[in-house]
Symmetry: C2
Subunit: 429 residues, 2 copies
Amino acid sequence: MKFQAPRGTRDFLPEEMAWHSHLVDTWRRVAIRHGFEQVDGPVYETLDLYKVKSGEGIVSELFHFTDRGGRELAIRPEFTPTLARMVAERANALPRPIKWFATPNLCRAERPQRGRLREHWQWNVDILGLDSAVADAEVLCVAIDFLQQMGLGPEHVRVKLSHREVVRFMLSRLGVADEKMLEAFNLLDRRDKMSGENFTRGAMALGLSKSRVDRFEQMCRRKYSCGNVDHLRRSIAIEEPLAMLDALDEQLTAFGISDFCEYDLGIVRGLAYYTGTVFEIHEATGTERAVAGGGRYDNLIELFGGPVLPAVGLGMGDVVLTNVLRDKGLIPQEVLPRPLVFVVAASDEGARKVPGVVARLRRDGHHTRFSYRSTRNLGKLLREADGARARFVVIIGDGELQLKHLESGEQSSVDLEELSRRLHFPAGA
Amino acid sequence: MKFQAPRGTRDFLPEEMAWHSHLVDTWRRVAIRHGFEQVDGPVYETLDLYKVKSGEGIVSELFHFTDRGGRELAIRPEFTPTLARMVAERANALPRPIKWFATPNLCRAERPQRGRLREHWQWNVDILGLDSAVADAEVLCVAIDFLQQMGLGPEHVRVKLSHREVVRFMLSRLGVADEKMLEAFNLLDRRDKMSGENFTRGAMALGLSKSRVDRFEQMCRRKYSCGNVDHLRRSIAIEEPLAMLDALDEQLTAFGISDFCEYDLGIVRGLAYYTGTVFEIHEATGTERAVAGGGRYDNLIELFGGPVLPAVGLGMGDVVLTNVLRDKGLIPQEVLPRPLVFVVAASDEGARKVPGVVARLRRDGHHTRFSYRSTRNLGKLLREADGARARFVVIIGDGELQLKHLESGEQSSVDLEELSRRLHFPAGA
């Protein structure tokens, strides 16, 4: 019998896992230094939870099943419904603002394609209870700090910002009726993935004339650099969302990240629940799917039975990010943990002492390995230690322990009680 | 609409998550220092994978579903089948011995009870390709190092060791037929969870007379301390498994963990695939389910289509372990990450500088928070910083930055360029 990993999933062998852990650890480390606290929820939820914001249509995209009690359940395809449930249940007991992050694995029952697998990991960062552009800016700031940590600068990745109300105003002026607005958002969101012909057909189905479709297309393609909200103001007469963008612009500058950001009214995000700012982070040349996406969802907690609570959040998946980093040569070659010390026996008497020395070094916190072979040939054993990329070798013979620093070749005798303290270079110090 | 976490699952709010992360991080840190490399697999596998070693009977204990292509899939209830698949697929390309660990979440479709939830996390530690008691001892050694790290000593937890072939020999001598052997193992495994009456009924169903049932019972209750294999030798005439226990005994002593271990022939482990050494780690008074369990499974890789490969492994779940640690007061009160610095504004001009200072500190790697409130009252702001358990406060007014060490009250002015270097006590140094 032969088995394989299910389609669209990954096995993480030691090298891949070391990279994966590095990625998830960095998500965590950066989120914590930005004052976010980690949370998590179950890997499956009640199926109904996913219908709240996405309707019955979501069911075909989920892996769903029933338990013995006949309850309908589904593996989580995203984390936001779990977050909304957790917050809605306890909103009044939680100190505000709520700044949470999570690094869940998520599953989607779709056809796997580049940048989109059936199981992936996603960094979720959310601020709830803060109705201010500071929150929007902080969510972008933590994402950019992380991307910089991975070696990506403003020349590699771009934050494309928009605002649902600005887009709604412009679409409405073009002649899109209110009841067609979500459909128009979805069309806008899928624009980069469809032919010009299909886009035109979609736009005309919204009730737009041919000339209006062209203006729709132009509007999507126009970009504004940060600090340029006034430019937008000339063509848009609604003050409230522009004031929000002004405030955001000011915060992006204050947090020092405006060189990563630009306004792009072609960004709306397909999800129905965004209410204000929306954004995506893309590789600069636009060759990959979005590295991250998010925005304001001020009505969602109420929808899950909680109080009215303003909220803004971001999701960043591991698959597109890893593709982008690999393309740019930014994935480190050696991520596997490297042993500090390798213990070998130069005699049979020495061999009997190996487990005790190894156990002692490990208990003292040192990454320690030893040879499982029965050879006492020191040359062979040193080559094995070198192959394991150990920094030090402890040689146990009939006399005193010998400590050897592999790179320099320096060697000296050492007492077992002193050993742990001497594991730094030079070995004789 | 109100939603709850599904039955038998857990929400991890920040405090619970901080503990959970600490647990998983410690599993990882200890495994790495013992020379194990981390791996992981998909959260679901093909349903057939779970039938290989457990038969059709396993299906009712799984959350299973079909994808659009009609493939039968199941959320992983244990990690060993994934490990066996991964090794079987690539056995000849992997350096030996293979020393792998994983910390997967696992799901079981059973009735939740104390120590057993529908979703839990498990530390899996396995050594493959090493047919020596050194491997068995190392697997126990890494588990004990971890338990000691959590504050548990030989007075708190006991490793109960047995050997399938020794138990088989004794059962056979009592009159259990070969074809009833697995049934006898299962009865032995469930003994602590059933009444004496039911145990007797089960034993008689194996074909044992009343007096043999009593001897069966006695055999299960006899314990042997480590270093006492000779004691066992007097009553058992089969040399091979005893020689294995002798070798194991020697290794447990050499690794310095024999004070945690004892032989207990009542331990067999229910799973059909164990072939040699079997063990469980229990809280010393025996009030909880096993903290960990494992043993040798020398035939399993072959069963999954791989080569013949000796193997020994251990699984430790998070639920029983957390119960044991909580009962003994060994769960630290404060596990939430503590901010190093809290930035406050003493004036409106200062407030405009806050985001820049905060972003700079975070980019320099420091856990930094700031006040979202508009107050400039320094007393209130210092109380907020204290409530957040920050160590330092940076006060931004119209003049120079002030750095204050909260515990000592020491305060001095500081230059922004110097700030990150000065975040240690005393603040003036």
